[in-house]
Symmetry: C2
Subunit: 151 residues, 2 copies
């Protein structure tokens, strides 16, 4: 099975949940000698069609990306108060690493195969040019994974 | 300041603490379509000269490395019961991501500079061909960092 069920072993992102993205973006930028990254906010529900635990959710989050030198982004995420895997993580664990992400093809096929091996979908949504899915891989991999499919 | 205080922005390792490294190494290898990695154990104190919170420690851990395609290793770590940052993490948080690692030069200089900006040394030790240091960067970066210096 080439590169396993995901078809890739390239870690695309390390996703970190934070309480205050403006403060954290500046701390990270200073630490790594980078420009302070732009802070964006995920789209509204009419565009994301986001689902968390099988239910539609209006949850949004602020995002900032720090581009590391080996094709990895550190993604900072500040959730709002609506139901989401981001908010759940912050409430349960506090700030910290929430997921590692992989860019994949055939999102629905991958999500189905992962569910079959005991790694269910937690949250999914659309963004401009693609879609994401968070997978509960914690029992086997000790961390959540995110799938990213770009058109 | 080129690439910040570390002099690099390349993430070399994602370190994950596990309870049972034999089981986790197989789970990761199956998931990513790899050979099950060799499991090694860190050296004894006479070689590591390890210090945890300023005191010598006999702590050892079992290690396994999964080589991801973008020059990142996922490092699995099963601690023993002696005092260490690995054991402290497992007892406090359970299994999960413990650190991200960077390969640096001038270990002592880096450790000193990090302490000056409020990121103290937690644990350090020698391994064949180099040395490591774990830094408490959690307040600013939400995750511990590890420095690796290879001779």
């Amino acid at each position: 099975m080439d590169n396993g069920i995901l078809g890739t072993t390239a870690v695309a992102q390390i996703g970190i949940i934070v309480n205050n993205i403006e403060r954290s973006a500046k701390k990270f930028a200073d630490f790594f000698g980078m420009e302070v990254p732009e802070i964006t906010i995920t789209d509204t529900y009419d565009k994301t069609l986001a689902q968390y635990k099988g239910e539609p959710t209006k949850a949004r989050s602020k995002l900032a990306f720090l581009h590391m030198s080996n094709n990895i982004d550190i993604e900072l995420i500040e959730p709002d108060d609506e139901p989401s895997t981001w908010r759940e993580f912050l409430d349960a664990h506090g700030e910290g690493i929430h997921h590692i992400a992989f860019v994949i093809k055939d999102m629905q096929g991958k999500v189905n195969k992962l569910a079959e091996i005991g790694m269910p979908l937690v949250q999914k949504g659309e963004y401009t040019g693609g879609r994401y899915a968070y997978i509960d891989s914690i029992a086997d991999l000790k961390v959540m994974i995110e799938l990213l499919e770009n058109d």
